[in-house]
Symmetry: C7
Subunit: 244 residues, 7 copies
């Protein structure tokens, strides 16, 4: 279906006659090839959850973490190219630490998201002194955090656009997950209901049986304003709630 446009997408960052930038669209395809991640905002905090496609029983699952801490009050979950996500999250961490150092306060979640997107948009062939990616980042992030404006969930995409969601899913199962959100999400969920919904959706989009080895869950809670990465026991408890 793309064959007749091939003349326009070789320039990494150029428009097609229809006004499209194909490399960004292809990067979005890279995200769809990834495993599913999702986030849910509740008044008590934000839940992040992710599928882990563990290629073999010999892999140590904890080495494939999809949820990454950005700062004490901000976390990100990714779908797409793992190494690209690492660059973006590392950039967000540095920006966040710089903010703390300069202003002696935690960075607000939107600013942290914006800083990530400012790196995403800088790709192509015009590089100055700073090293630039020669292609867009093939990754989407859901960034969850709590700041003085309350709990928030933001999504970034390869074009450098960012949008705030009440609940959002990315990766291979995104569409299926979003349909479930439309049916079952409501703004006054408790954090526990959010956790249950998140894991239930993963159950529906994943081929494998749920286990603490192949999913990750984390929350940023409003009460203490901090990120909590759930350990296997906590994840098992949520899975158990689903079976009830």
């Amino acid at each position: 279906m793309f064959s007749s446009k091939s003349e326009y997408d070789r320039g990494v960052n150029t428009f097609s006659p229809e006004g499209r930038i194909f490399q960004i669209e292809y990067a979005i395809e890279a995200i769809k090839l990834g495993s599913t991640s999702l986030g849910i905002q509740t008044p008590e905090g934000v839940v992040l959850a992710a599928e882990k496609r563990v290629p073999s029983t010999l892999v140590v699952p904890s080495s494939m973490n999809k949820i990454m801490e950005v700062d004490g009050h901000i976390a990100a979950v990714m779908s797409g190219i793992v190494a690209d996500a690492r660059i973006l999250v590392e950039h967000a961490r540095v920006e966040s630490q710089n903010h703390r150092f300069t202003y002696n306060e935690p960075m607000c979640v939107e600013s942290c998201t914006l800083a990530t997107c400012d790196l995403s948009i800088q790709f192509g062939e015009s590089g100055g002194k700073r090293k630039l990616m020669s292609r867009p980042f093939g990754v989407s992030l859901l960034i969850a955090g709590v700041d003085e404006k309350g709990p928030q969930l933001w999504q970034t995409d390869p074009s450098g656009t960012y949008t705030r969601y009440d609940a959002q899913a990315i990766g291979g199962g995104a569409e299926a997950a979003q349909n479930v959100f439309t049916e079952r999400y409501h703004r006054n969920m408790t954090l526990e209901e959010g956790e249950t919904l998140a894991v239930d959706i993963l159950k529906q989009v994943m081929e494998d049986q749920l286990s603490p080895e192949n999913i990750e869950v984390a929350v940023v809670r409003v009460d203490d304003g901090k990120l909590h990465m759930y350990n296997p026991t906590e994840i098992k408890a949520i899975i158990a709630r689903l079976a009830e």
Copy 2:
């Protein structure tokens, strides 16, 4: 229709035999793919209004703002690629702050527009020390403001050209909107009439029902010389006036 010209548009910034620069024309197509934005100048101030294409009820609409403050007396509304608009508006903000710092006075609206266009024109492959876009910006801005020359509305385009309008629309519904302007706009409208006309046009070009979630309205008023972003209540009031 463009197929036979493909040989000329691969060089990002080169002429075709007919003297056209295709990448700029394709960037203009990118704008037409965007949602509709418009601006109306009245003796009492300038109205900006924009359609928001909210992809899902789970999106937090306020995170997708199309109208952006440049300075206390200048605002811009965009159609096209969101991330490109952010770069241009950020540039305009910096120029505007520099002006205040250097001359201790607000920047005039035309100078601010010119500064934005000076960035737009600098794309291509010859980059020096400064980082350049390798393609034109795929965005058009309507810049509204009030300065000592009174209320003004300017449009920028990807070629770096800027033009002043009494009323102008950009994006997917631009043509339809311009037809309505020709019929109903007159130079002595009150600001309230301008607001009503702006929202009425959005109503005609949008598929969805108008709501404070899917449109934005802002004015820069002559009396206080300041930008006012309308809140949902104020937008509801304008929608209500339409129904009368």
Copy 3:
């Protein structure tokens, strides 16, 4: 007609087997796509006049000025790409101010034209520290001025060549206008006759009815050595003379 040469014109600045540089020829086509501008030298001063293609009645015509002041005694009128003209004229302004600052005297008209052309010729792929256009400037300028050598009219083209004319026209209607010059121009015209001839020619090459909104006129007078941009009333007066 150009199809068989396409292999040679992709390198932005290379010769074809016939010794032609196609990008410069294509840039000249860009000028022919533009509106008509013209200049007439008389012993009393130089007249510049230009058609303005106002796309809509909602445009504020004064924002589309085709005649631009370079210095108090020099003006330029353009045909072709508006943003390209802005870069060249801005360059001419800076050179002219530098000359005043360094030598404490106005720059002579030919030097000012030469400075503009020196920028034009520097395009292509070899850029050093300074930012270069990756294509030729798609614009022709008529530069009018008065200096100690008297009133002068110069034309620049995309190849960086400049030539002095008694009377010259550029843009879409150039050929038609030049025919009229051959018939009706003579070197001892009064400035008023020059104005009348200039506007009469615009009348012949323009599709729309003449009005102070869609043409511009300016003169650089010998008696005071200064540029005078004509206001709507003055333009109306010239149009009125034509009807006599």
Copy 4:
């Protein structure tokens, strides 16, 4: 099978319409062309073993070492392009020494792996001041080490991704080896059982008869926290155990 994608893989670091980066996929093919290497983690330490494809009896086998010391407590075994591996391991050595110098403690194994991957991800055409590879590294490493978190085995790949394994094999015989792991590996193996398994797998995937000249074995032991490269006598002893 790749012929129809050739249009997309010429840009070294660009996406195909399906969201794939072909140069990275091709680099992974380069690894499959290489000889087999493997690693096994046991509670007593980590075993590394590698096949050596000695092209002639005139080669001095010790000059073709596939297992390389990174630091006293970390070793790496490679499959793929030998010279690429040398660059990565040299980089890891420098990072490891810098860590010791700065913090006066051994680098932890994961950090050392990460540092290697940070170099892998930086390829393509945007280079700044630092020299970059113009293609991905055509090599996979198994990095074995012991630190305060115990014995560990990590794998790196050309995309810059790294994953921790209990046991993993890379290179031409990787798939066959992984099948054996699934059957015979268990987490409580003794180090001696690990050595035997490692060499037994090499025996199965190699065409030539096992000898101290065409395989290498090394372990990083938990008890002394140090890398031990096995000499021919020690390797012969393991081969002898297999025959039992």
Copy 5:
């Protein structure tokens, strides 16, 4: 005739299989498209003469000068691309002034020619800090001067080669002119005979009637060692001599 070589001439500065550099050959074609210029050396001095193709009676002929002063004792006449000639002559002027400043003596004619050719040869894609043309200069110069070695006439070409001639013609009518030289030139001509011959040849190669507006003549005389640009009256006198 060139079609089958097109594969080799796209690299601006590369050899064809026959050992030819096509861009230089094409640049020589550009010179043949130009008007005719010629030079004649006599014991009393060197004559330069050039055809001017004045496109319209409205052009001010003196603005299209083909003969340019390099220094008080050196002049150059050009055929080919006007703007390219300007760069070369400007370079020669600077070198000549530098020589005077450094050594307090006029530059010798050969050194001045060499300096011009050193710039010509530096084109292509390898540019360092200095700005380079991305194509050869499409111009040939005849450089005339008088120094302690007597009167001299040198020719430069786009490859950076320079050759001394007794009499030489370049541009569209070069071949015809050279035939006349072979018949009528002799080394002991007086300067007046040289002038007459030069103008007579122009008469034969030009389509238009000779006039002081469409030809230029200059001499560098041995007696005072200085360049004399002929004014219209002096040119008319030579034309008159022809009619005798």
Copy 6:
């Protein structure tokens, strides 16, 4: 046979879909086009010998030396592109001198080989401040030396890989020579037997009659640890031994 891969080998340093880097494979072909060189390690020292393809009896054979001194205890013999070998050997010489200067001891042979390979691997399009080859070096070296680890013979190839051999041949006759080694080489040869074998092999692979003009022989002896380039008389003596 290579025709269908042409799409992948134009990028100088990129992978083909099969994981191959064609430019390196083609560079290896360049070596096979060269004359034959070989090296033999014995307990008493290392022998290097090389065929010289003298194009004419008018050539001074000593100007075409294939064996080059790197340091007093290290020599290299080459097959492939002569000028490429010169760059690598010059690099090895500088590294070796630096080592002596810094550590006040001779460089060991392996380090010297490694330093050569580190230069080989750095080719392609990403160059930083240092000048890089835009293609791989089309040369293979046999590096012979004696250090505290005894006599050694190393081979480098265009990919930057280096391997130690007991005996090895490179260039056009490599395969034939290697067959002879397999038959006749043994590790306890005397140096004299090594010399005889080396020259005997050259006799078999060369078309011309052996003479001191068309072969070179050198040894690095263990007893004095020094390189000895054999003069014509010494070479004649070896040839004479063959005839016995």
Copy 7:
């Protein structure tokens, strides 16, 4: 004959599948298009001689010198592209002067040749700070000189290789000349015999009649160690000897 290789020779400095670098081979073709030059070494000194293709009787032959002084004791004669030779010889001159300045002694002939070749080898696309040719030099030099090792004749070629000859010819008539050398050259020729042979060969390969205008001769003599450029009278004398 080259058509099927065109895919490989566009990269200026890349290997073909057969291990050839076509741009260097094409540069050698450029040399064959040039006029013939030759050199002869005798015990009394080295003779250089060259054909001059004077395009017209109006050319001043002395301006087309093919033999160029490098230093007082070294000269070079060229075949191929004149302007390329000028760059190489200028480089050799600077190196030679630097040597004298640094070591207070004349540079030896081989070092001077090597310095020239070091410049030749540096072409292509990887340029650092220094300006590089984007193609090989299309020229071959014969470098003649006398130093403490006696009289010497070296040849350079576009690949940067240099070889010493007793007698050698380059350019269009090289092959014919080499055949004569094989027949008539012997190492104990007197310098006069060398001169006669050199000129006799030029007579055989040139179409035109020999004259002091169309050949050049120079010798570097052993007795005074200096270069002597022969004047027309001396050349006539040699021509006269031939007729005897």
